[in-house]
Amino acid sequence: MIDAKDREIIEALQGGLPLVPAPYAQIAADLGIDEDALLHRMSDLKSRGVIRRIAAAPNHYKLGMTSNGMTVWDVEDDRVTELGTQIGALPFVTHCYERPRALPDWPYNLFAMVHGADRNEVEEKRAEITAILGDACRAKDILYSTRILKKTGLRLKTKG
């Protein structure tokens, strides 16, 4: 859980880290606290998993990874952990999750994101997943993304 001070820090950071030599000093000045105090708080937030990492989110499209497929699979429940672990370990899978089905419309319980330069490359990678899942997979589909509609990351509501 986070307290009011943590919250102020998160609000100050959610727009991103400034690209200046001493970014934490700038954020600390905005918050009216010492840089040391800010770093200490952030280190604590990191150890508690509130901050996962401080890093860049690349735009896959601009990197030439213009084809982005959400592969979805209906995998036997008693094998999903074992197989999900294998699929998640594939170098071309960036995210892999077990999620609930939404029957009857949506029979799929395993989701794996696959990126490639074009749909052929994504299909080749998808075929590798198909081979690994074998008989445990009863149905499958792929949903290509055709447009980024929003990408802002977490935004805390400003409390009045």
Binding site: I10, P21, P58, D141
Partner: protein, 149 residues
Amino acid sequence: MNLDATDRAILNRMQDDLPLTTHPYAAIAAELGISESELLNRLTRMKDERVITRFGPFFDAAAMGGAFCLCAMAVPPGNFETVLTKVNAHAEVAHNYERTHRLNMWFVLATETPEGIEATADAIERETGIEVLRFPKLQEFFIGFRVAA
């Protein structure tokens, strides 16, 4: 925008964690064998050109006592832009993609409380008249967000 070998090396490094030190960029620049000012100039350019969509801390809403949930809607193509405006108006919608399926709008809700997921999804259903299917994660098998630049 054309990316040279230095840009690509920067992008690969910057997808990993940045140190919590007073001059974090200087540390990364030293690792990459370039000056701090060159690193900052290149990062600024890549951010301006939107090669980098965001740079900074990634927060885990669940660790703050909140929640994430992947949601999907089957939006009639003729109403897509109208529905999109209503969905994106919610600050809880962290990202949103159009996809090739009858379920053509897929977005992630990030909320400060677990109840916030249901409240926001219900609000979107009321405002749009379209069912919001909810796919919370049951298990996460890998956290490898990196793409090779």
